[in-house]
Structures are given as C-alpha cells and as structure tokens.
C-alpha cells in the first residue's frame, strides 16, 4: 500500500532504513541492559567478601536451644533461603534450610512461608504452612505480592497479607488482602474485610477498608491494622465472632508483646517527611499511652519482640535488609543485630 501524502519523514526506503537502525540501536541498548542485569544476578550466587558464613544443614522449627530464624539475603548459593543462627550468637555461622521464602514467621513448631512461584509467563504467589521439619503441610494460592505473615503462639492459626493491584493502566490503585487459616481444620477465612467492623463504638461499613498485619494474642483474639478514609486504626479482632473493633488511631503493622500488654507499631510521625513517615512506637494497651523508641529512622516493617523488652525490625541494608534491635521502653539506642536478613522469628 502506498503511504499517504505528504510523506512523514522522507522517502519510504530512507524511513525504513531509519527504523531499522533505530531498532538495532534500541534493541542493543535493551539487550545490554538485560545482559548487564543478568550478569549482576549471576554474581549474587557467589559469596561476597566479608559476608556471613552460610552452610547447608538441617533446620528444625523446634530446635534444642534458642535460635533465630530468618530469610538470609547474603549473596551465595543459599541466598533467600531460611537460615538459623543461635539466638545468643546472631553473627555466627548460618545453617541454611534449602527452603526459599519472601516472608516467614513461626511459632510452636508451625511455620508460614510466603513464596513466589516463577511461572513461564508471570510470577504467582502461594502461602505454604510448614511443620517443624519444614515439610509442606498445606498450600494456598495467594492473590498478590506477599508482605506480612504471622503464626499464633500455639501454632494453630496462621495469617498472611498480600498486596493486590486490581486494575490495568491506572497502575496506582493498590489494596491489601489478609487471610487467616486454622491449621487444625484447614478452615480458611480468605478475606478479613468481610468481618463486621465497629469503629469508635458504632457499626461501620465502607468499600475502601483495607486490613493488614495480623498479630495473634491467642487462638481467638488478634490485633491488626484497619485503613479507611485515609486513616489507619489499631483493631482488635475475633476469629470466631468475625468482628473487628477499633482501639486507637494512627497504628500500622502492630506486633503484640509476649506478655500481651503492649503493641509495637509503626506510626506516621507528625512532621516526618512524606516519603519516610513511619517511626517505631510502643502502645501500652492498659493505659493507651504511646512511647517513642530510640529508633529515629523510617520503619516500614512489622516489628518482632525478642522478649518482653526488646524489639527487632528490618531496615534497608547493603544486601536488601539488615535486622536491627532497640529497647521497647524508649531507652538506649538501636544496634545492628544481623546483616543481610529479613522476616525473623525466634525459635525454642
């Protein structure tokens, strides 16, 4: 077919030649970028100088002594695998399990592992419930990108949150989905947004609710974040009654202390920059008083209680993320606990 007049950019041959050159040039740049990135990813499979020692071994979720388990992000053949270290020697040699997780948590011999499944056309995600020997007990498809995971103290309940992006083209419309499963019956509640909500003492319903970051008190009660209308709330949930009740405002990713009296959480601090708004706080559930921790940096993680007085959380590091620790009462100062690690849990 003859192209319409007037010609857009010279004779047809010249235009085709220009296109050919551009395709070669742009194709070259694109291929170069892919090859560069592929080569870089190859380097991640080699251990880095001065990195932590990692050795393959057998990992149990019910070990003989106290251990810390996490997703090890150190470069090398065991990158992204669950690994353990003795709780009192977090810098010691890591025992890698061979099980890869994006997010992980464990309690009382039950583990929850949120995994990516690399398909031919796209990534999908799944939730795997593991027994103490890290054998798969049950898997559930996950609707989006994993972000939070928790197991109840008894090991009977497990909860997880994923990010869902529903729409094409807009690309900016994100929401969360949180699910809870009972590992005794495998009864699944796959969307906590169907729970009856009581906000400020009144029944509340809204299409824009998002729930994330469950932390269990026992096998009925839990705490989580509820977001609606641009605000976030601490909610207390009941698995049996299927209810959520707001307790406090400006609370995200709560984490209940082992004695059940306090919640560590990230709070949008007034005056903090918009791109780094969150600071780590502790709320006393009896007096509802908030205490700022000594950690002054932006925290985008669900903290973990090492014991009744110490918090552990992830911050961006040279190899993805490092785990840091700070006292829960606002005293002291933060210090690095483990490098190249994320999604921790204490065992034993």
């Amino acid at each position: 077919m003859t192209l319409p007049q007037p010609p857009a950019g010279g004779a047809p041959i010249a235009r085709l030649l220009t296109l050919l050159i551009a395709v070669l040039l742009l194709g070259g740049i694109g291929t170069g970028a892919v090859l560069y990135a592929a080569d870089r990813s190859g380097k991640r499979d080699e251990e880095q100088q001065g990195g932590p020692a990692v050795r393959a071994g057998s990992v149990s979720l019910q070990p003989a002594g106290q251990q810390l388990v996490f997703r090890s992000m150190a470069w090398g053949p065991h990158r992204d695998e669950l690994a353990t270290v003795p709780a009192d020697h977090p810098d010691g040699e890591r025992t890698a399990s061979g099980v890869k997780c994006l997010r992980f948590h464990a309690a009382a011999g039950t583990g929850i592992c949120l995994q990516a499944v690399h398909g031919a056309l796209e990534d999908t995600y799944r939730t795997v419930i593991l027994d103490a020997k890290l054998h798969e007990l049950h898997t559930f498809p996950a609707a989006g990108i994993p972000t939070r995971a928790r197991v109840s103290p008894s090991g009977y309940l497990a909860a997880w949150t994923v990010f869902v992006s529903g729409d094409s083209y807009a690309g900016t419309d994100f929401s969360t989905r949180t699910a809870i499963v009972d590992t005794r019956t495998w009864a699944l509640q796959d969307n906590l947004e169907t729970y009856a909500i009581t906000k400020d003492g009144h029944p509340f319903q809204s299409h824009d609710t998002n729930i994330w970051g469950v932390t269990f008190a026992d096998d009925t009660r839990f705490y989580a974040t509820l977001a609606t209308g641009g605000h976030t709330y601490l909610v207390q949930g009941d698995v049996t009654a299927r209810t959520l009740t707001t307790l406090h405002q400006n609370v995200e990713c709560p984490s209940l202390s082992p004695d059940g009296t306090r919640v560590a959480y990230k709070k949008r601090a007034p005056g903090a920059p918009a791109d780094a708004p969150w600071r780590l706080y502790v709320l006393d559930l009896r007096t509802m008083t908030e205490t700022a921790t000594a950690e002054q940096r932006n925290i985008d993680d669900q903290a973990l209680w090492a014991d009744d007085s110490t918090l552990v959380y992830a911050l961006p590091g040279d190899f993805g993320a490092d785990l840091w620790t700070t006292p829960a009462d606002g005293s002291g100062s933060p210090r690095r606990l483990v490098s190249a690690a994320v999604a921790p849990a204490y065992l034993g």
């Binding site: 077919m1 003859t2 192209l3 319409p4 007049q5 007037p6 010609p7 857009a8 950019g9 235009r15 220009t18 296109l19 551009a22 395709v23 194709g27 694109g30 970028a33 892919v34 560069y36 990135a37 592929a38 870089r40 990813s41 991640r44 994006l102 690399h118 056309l121 796209e122 990534d123 999908t124 996950a142 609707a143 989006g144 990108i145 972000t147 990010f163 869902v164 992006s165 529903g166 729409d167 094409s168 083209y169 807009a170 690309g171 900016t172 419309d173 994100f174 929401s175 969360t176 989905r177 699910a179 796959d190 299409h207 824009d208 998002n210 977001a227 641009g230 791109d275 992830a314 961006p316």
Partner: protein, 417 residues
C-alpha cells in the same frame, strides 16, 4: 431509522483511503497509529505489571500511598486531554506534533523510574506519564478519523483499539520474560520499556503522515472556541448521552470487586478478571466496529450499554459459579468494544474536520469526568447501603439513562464533512 448513520457522503475523501471500494483496507495511517499504540502499550503495561512487585519486593516499601494520587491524576488527565485536543487543531496540522509530545513525555518517564526510589517520587513520575497520555489521546483519535472515510470510521477505530489492547496484553509477558532472564532486574525492565517507548515515538514520527491542512481553516486561538462546538446539535446530543451514560458506568475495579464478592470467587482469581475483559474487548473490537458502520454507531453505542446493564443484572442475580463470571466479563468486554471506538467514530462524524481534536477531546473528557463522578458516588452509596444495593440503584439509573439517550439520539447523524 439509523440508516443515515452509514449513508455514503460526498465528503472529500480523506487521504490514505480509496473511495468506492466496499470493505476496502484500513487506511495506512490507522495501521501506523495502531502500531504506535501497540508498541507504546507494551512499554507502559510492562511498567504497570511489575511496579507493585518492584515497590514491595525490590524497594521494601508499601505501595498504598499511590492510591491517594489517583483522584488528582484523574482530574488533571481530563483537563490535559482538552488542552491536547485544542492545541492539535490550531493551524490544522498540529495533531502529529501534539501526539508526539504526548508519546515522548511518557517515554521519558520510563528511564526516570530508574532514579525514583520513594513512593512520592514514583507517584510523580506516574503523574507525568498520565499527562502524556492525556495529551496524545485526542490528536491521535483525530488523525484516525481524518484518515478514514466517514462510513468506515467504526471499523478503523475498532482496529486501532484492538491493536492497542494487544499491546496491553503483551506488555506483562515481556516484563516477566525480562524479570525471569535477569532475576529481579527491575532496572532492566524499565530500560527495555524505555527503549520500546522510544521506538513507538519513532514509528509515529516516521510512518504517520501529517494530516493535510484543512482548507481555509481559521486559526483557533482560545479554548472557548472548542466549547462553541457544543452549539452543534449532533455533537451536543452525543456529548450529553456520553455524560449521562458515563454517570451510570461503574468503574472496572468496583465491578470486579462486586463480582468477586457476589459470586464468592476465590481471591486468587481476582488478578485474572481485568484480563477477561481485555480479551473480550480485543476479540470484539473490530467486528463490532464494522457492525457499527453498517447498522449505525448510535445504535451500537446504546446496545453496548445494554450489554453493560445485562452484566450488572448477572452480578446482581448472585447465581454462583465460574460460568457466570465468564459471562459477566464477556459482556463487560463487549460493552467496551461496542462503545469505546464507536463513540469516537460517532463523535468524529458529528464534528467539523478542522475541529476533530477538540470535538473528540470534549466528548471524551465529558465521559471520563462523568465516570469519575460515578466512582465517587458509587463509593459513597456502597458505604451507605452496601455493594448490592448500590449496584441495583446504578443498574436502574443506567436503564433510565439508556432510554433518555435513545430518545436523544433518535434524530439522524449529521455528517459534517
């Protein structure tokens, strides 16, 4: 009654078409613009597909903050489209220039993503990207209509929309192929996306001809001139119908959410719902566009909203099962195929040649703003009454609007060529 819509006119034959041949090939300009859209959509959907993953897994941030920018982007996008349409008409041959600026702006955003590492910065880059999209939409559609004989515009827009959607479906596949090859190489995805976007701009510059200067077109100088288009009865009626029906068109994400809840679909199927709509749209865009040329664009535009109404009713019927979901998505895709390009074709035929950009932008913007208003109202209604009642109310309003639109559109098309 609608035969006038497809009557042959003595209008001057647009460049790139051969007169008098029934079922003649789609004009080269349309294919070239379709190719530009296809390439550009591969590029933009690559980014859309991996962005949440990049933000959460790559940067370790929460992407929830993006949602807040959505409202602002929608308003700005609508205004930018009006400006784009207006600028394109100035002097009669600005369409290609404005479109090129729009495509170029979006292309520049892809490499910028390599540098943006915080949620507000990424949001800002996305806003610029959307501005580019708003700017290019009206001049692109004006070029399609100016290159096509009036009686074949339905099919021409159908071909364009099908090519556009093909790109949208290919984008995620390319993105994940790159991610697979590089193991979490998000920078490589952005770089490749940038290269593909640049190629799209180049194809536009090289292979899309500058529309011939329309004879004696007085230079338009103010946006108010665009609004005088509303004095044309045919365009005014069409715009009114687009707004009226847009006010009762529930946004895609609400519909998918309702579908998932009413039918009790498992949540992991949720990401597949938009794909279902897109696939139906892709398959039906060309045949329904051609059908519109035969039986009348207004008829098909109304029939498309009938399909949407049927989709609402199917959701409301709460018949459980995957088959119903497939039916709803098929109807939803059919709705888009029967209305998206078809409205553009009808608008083009009701707008003078020298104001195609402004006319298309006016109707398109009216429809977009109406749909945005519907989203806000629907959200409030959902909170107050629950999703089921909100959808039932919307379905009723849609039925009333459709009857009103039918009455408004009864008079024949005025082809002003």
């Amino acid at each position: 009654m609608y035969l006038a819509d497809s009557r042959s006119t003595k209008a001057p034959v647009a460049p790139g078409t051969r007169p008098g041949r029934r079922g003649a090939a789609v004009p080269g300009t349309v294919l070239a613009l379709g190719a530009v859209s296809l390439i550009t959509d591969i590029s933009s959907e690559m980014v859309t597909a991996v962005l949440p993953l990049y933000v959460v897994a790559g940067l370790g941030l929460s992407p929830l903050g993006f949602g807040l920018l959505d409202g602002i982007n929608n308003g700005v996008g609508a205004l930018v489209r009006l400006v784009g349409g207006h600028l394109a008409d100035r002097g009669g041959r600005g369409h290609k220039t404005v479109a090129a600026v729009g495509y170029g702006l979006s292309a520049v955003c892809k490499p910028l993503l390599l540098l943006a590492h915080t949620v507000p910065l990424i949001g800002a880059v996305l806003a610029v990207d959307r501005t580019g999209k708003g700017l290019r939409t009206a001049p692109r559609d004006a070029m399609i209509s100016l290159a096509t004989e009036p009686e074949h515009r339905g099919r021409a827009f159908g071909v364009h929309r099908a090519m556009d959607t093909t790109g949208a479906l290919l984008g995620p596949l390319v993105a994940f192929a790159v991610l697979r090859a590089t193991v979490d190489g998000y920078d490589a995805v952005f770089a490749v996306s940038g290269c593909i976007a640049a190629l799209g701009v180049l194809v536009l510059l090289l292979f899309v001809p500058t529309p011939a200067r329309t004879a004696d077109a007085p230079p338009r100088s103010s946006l108010r001139d665009s609004l005088t288009l509303l004095r044309l009865p045919a365009l005014r009626r069409l715009g009114l119908c687009a707004v009226l029906l847009g006010l009762t068109t529930v946004s895609d994400s609400f519909l998918y959410l309702l579908l998932q809840r009413q039918l009790g679909l498992s949540t992991h199927l949720f990401p597949l719902l938009p794909l279902g709509t897109a696939a139906a749209f892709l398959l039906l865009a060309v045949p329904l566009g051609a059908l519109a040329d035969r039986i009348g664009r207004r008829t098909l535009f109304l029939a498309g909203h009938g399909a949407l109404l049927l989709a609402y009713v199917l959701v409301l019927a709460r018949i459980p099962g995957g088959a119903v979901a497939v039916g709803v998505l098929l109807l939803h895709g059919m709705f888009y195929a029967a209305t998206d390009g078809v409205l553009a074709a009808a608008t083009a035929n009701a707008t003078p040649a020298d104001q195609q950009g402004a006319g298309l932008a006016l109707v398109g913007t009216g429809q977009a703003l109406a749909r945005f208003a519907c989203s806000l109202a629907f959200g409030a209604a959902w909170s107050a009454w629950g999703g089921h009642t909100a959808l039932a109310a919307t379905a009723t309003a849609l039925a009333v609007s459709a009857v009103a639109a039918y009455l408004l559109l009864r008079s024949p098309d005025e082809v002003t060529e």
